[in-house]
């Protein structure tokens, strides 16, 4: 049942102090030492004095220390409209009747075009050597959630991890802060803040036949095949990367915390019990057609209408969400797979973005691979499968308590 309207709560002085005026003022000054600004405390002191002397509603209305307590059911929670950074796609099935010969010719052209233009090797890239500092924001990574796998820690406790497959990420472009601020999106993002740069990263190379020439050209400049997914990552200029840089699972460290962004599972049109967790009605005892309904939607007196934001059945899911502070338990460098403790928004086989966490207590204390991880030139790889120290490695002997 929806609660009554969000009401205004008055912070009252302790009841005992109201009788004795002077004593109450002393109490008030004691409580007010916690206040940050002296002006505020002075004002509140006056307010409290007035409250203690005369609790007329007329005086309270204007000068009282109102603490607005909003009922979370009234706060707008969902926005499923596409982000304003996405441009409207005009997807129409093209009726180009291309003959089989022309199709074959097209494919030959594509082969020729991309055969010679291979992506630059890491050794050929010009990567500036920059210093890492705690305020650095590194690039993120586009990954696919491929499912869940359970592992055990050294005490035998089960840990369910989400398996994220870091796709073939390549940097497409770096937009420096001065330029990014001038874009519409950048202007909104950095309205009253110091501007940061933007790294455009693409993942999942596919057949150029599926895209327009303009889209393919974005990647062709860099020598890459067109990517299915693109993403912007806001970074500090010292974490900039040149175009065509590959970003792999080694970009992250085992034991670090990450934020994973994705679109939650789409449940479709759902009733009030699943969508808002209402209890519904009794299953038996004569309940007539009232098992999974919402019940009352208003009081009838207050405002005499249904309040906007009243919890009702409707579309559920497919919302953009961040799951923050998830710990990386294991990284497989060979298959570019990250095992993250906990769950991630979205269904299996959906695309997610992984960032270094912004939770202050879980941020990096030491330098991570900055600006990203590059495998050593001489071919001596780091270990293929890196496990967190708390995990029980499957090839090691059974745990004896």
């Amino acid at each position: 049942m929806p609660n009554s309207a969000g009401h205004v709560k008055f912070v009252m002085p302790p009841i005992g102090s109201i009788g004795s005026g002077l004593a109450s003022y002393r109490d008030l000054t004691r409580t007010l030492t916690d206040e940050k600004s002296t002006l505020y405390s002075a004002l509140s002191a006056i307010v409290y004095m007035l409250q203690s002397l005369n609790r007329s509603p007329f005086l309270l209305g204007f000068l009282s220390n109102h603490e607005q307590v909003r009922n979370m059911s009234r706060v707008k929670r969902r926005n499923t409209h596409p982000g304003y950074w996405l441009s409207l796609k005009n997807v129409q099935k093209k009726d180009d009747k291309i003959s089989a010969d022309n199709l074959r010719f097209m494919r030959e052209v594509i082969q020729d075009k991309y055969k010679n233009k291979s992506p630059l090797k890491v050794s050929e890239l010009q990567i500036e050597k920059t210093e890492w500092d705690p305020k650095t924001k590194r690039s993120g990574v586009i990954a696919r959630n491929i499912g869940r796998q359970q592992m055990w820690d050294k005490d035998g406790n089960k840990i369910v991890c989400t398996v994220l497959h870091v796709l073939d990420n390549h940097v497409i472009r770096y937009i420096p802060p001065e330029e990014y601020v001038k874009t519409s999106r950048g202007a909104i993002h950095f309205k009253n803040k110091t501007p940061l740069g933007c790294l455009v990263v693409g993942a999942e190379a596919t057949n150029p036949e599926k895209f327009t020439r303009q889209y393919c050209n974005l990647f062709a400049e860099v020598g890459l095949m067109p990517k299915k997914t693109l993403s912007r990552f806001i970074i500090t200029p010292n974490a900039a990367l040149p175009p065509c840089t590959p970003i792999t699972a080694g970009h992250f460290l085992v034991g670090q915390a990450v934020d994973v962004y994705g679109k939650t599972v789409d449940h479709g049109f759902q009733g009030v019990v699943k969508r808002w967790g209402f209890k519904g009605g009794p299953a038996s005892h004569g309940a007539t057609k009232f098992h999974r309904r919402g019940g009352t939607i208003g009081t009838g007196r207050d405002k005499a209408r249904v309040w906007p934001g009243t919890k009702m059945p409707g579309h559920m899911g497919s919302e953009r969400r961040y799951n923050r502070g998830l710990m990386i338990m294991r990284i497989n460098m060979k298959y570019n797979v990250i095992y993250v403790k906990g769950t991630v928004p979205g269904a299996t086989n959906s695309i997610v973005r992984i960032f270094d966490t912004l939770l202050p207590l879980r941020k990096f204390k030491e330098a991570p691979p900055h600006p990203t991880y590059f495998p050593p030139e001489d071919g001596t790889q780091k270990e293929e499968d890196i496990w967190d120290s708390r995990l029980h490695v499957f090839g090691s002997p059974s745990i004896s308590v």
Binding site: Q149, G156, K158, G395, S400
Partner: protein, 305 residues
């Protein structure tokens, strides 16, 4: 395209496996059989793709068909929304790693097993439980089985996760199967059918090639029961002796069309081609592990002393 092998029922598969059960010579026979089969099939269907042979004509290792009964947890959950080949492959690698440490023997529901688990609360730090496997399920690292026994006139069931590192040892004391895939009716049966002594020793099998089926028909206690057993078409239970209205209602509620529903069966199983690929991948490692253990067992008494 589904090959005709796919839709063989469980019982046909059982029969096949019983005929070809000789483990040592089996893999060889499978390998030699398949090139012949594929060439025959190729001549029959000229346009079809040859999956089991390379173009160069190399023989491809194929696991023996009874692997799908011996190691059913290697097959993934058939729900299409959750399937991903890379994740399944990585999971299988982890499973093989665990199997290299501990022997997870072949067992079926109806087999009597003993499991030793590391337990901080028990005096020896290890707890051993003997029981009959009444159900098994899960795929991948989540594979589990339930052992049931009656201890001090109290029925006890324990669910063990097969790949949990706390498990020290899994022994099969008596390898056999029953007439049903799930023996949950033992909960409503007379306690003597679920009682097995903890001191039971491993029984040596006379005939290694066939897993015997125990045709025992269990007597149930008088009603009330935990489930409506008359609706479940149980083979391993004696005549329930219920009033006719129970059977009439069971008929009304029954879904006899399900056995003709091909798509339902398809959605619940992994197609044969994929099964073959999966077992071909793990086959060699499993065989190696098995061999090593056999050698160790033969050498065991002499090497330990």
């Amino acid at each position: 395209m589904l090959r005709r092998v796919v839709l063989q029922t469980f019982r046909q598969g059982l029969a096949q496996s019983f005929f070809k059960r000789n483990a040592a010579s089996l893999s060889e026979s499978a390998v030699t059989q398949h090139p012949i089969e594929t060439s025959e099939e190729a001549s029959e269907k000229s346009g079809s793709k040859q999956k089991n042979g390379d173009e160069s004509g190399n023989t491809v290792v194929v696991a023996p068909p009874e692997f799908r009964f011996m190691y059913p947890e290697f097959l993934p959950d058939p729900t299409m929304e959750r399937r991903n080949k890379l994740k399944e492959k990585l999971e299988r690698m982890d499973m093989l790693q665990r199997r290299s440490i501990i022997e997870i023997p072949e067992f079926y529901t109806g087999s009597i097993m003993a499991v030793t688990v590391a337990d901080s609360n028990s005096p020896n730090k290890f707890a051993r439980f003997v029981g009959i496997c009444i159900q098994r399920g899960g795929s991948g690292l989540q594979a589990w089985f339930i052992l049931r026994n009656v201890v001090d006139r109290q029925g006890v069931e324990i669910l063990y996760e097969m790949y949990c590192p706390l498990i020290q040892k899994i022994e099969v004391l008596r390898l056999e199967r029953r007439l049903d895939e799930s023996l949950l009716y033992l909960r409503d049966a007379l306690p003597e059918y679920s009682t097995f002594p903890f001191e039971m020793e491993a029984e040596r099998r006379l005939n290694n090639s066939v897993v015997p089926i125990n045709p025992i028909k269990v007597k149930l206690r008088p009603r009330p029961w935990l489930e409506r057993w008359e609706r479940q078409n149980l083979q391993g239970v004696e005549d329930l002796n219920l009033p006719q209205r129970y059977y009439d209602r069971a008929k009304e509620v029954a879904k006899p069309w399900e056995k003709y529903d091909l798509m339902l069966q398809y959605r619940k199983t992994i197609p044969a081609e994929e099964q073959e690929k999966i077992y071909a991948e793990v086959h060699s490692q499993l065989q190696q592990q098995d061999l090593k253990r056999k050698i160790k067992r033969r050498r065991g008494p002499s090497s330990e002393q």
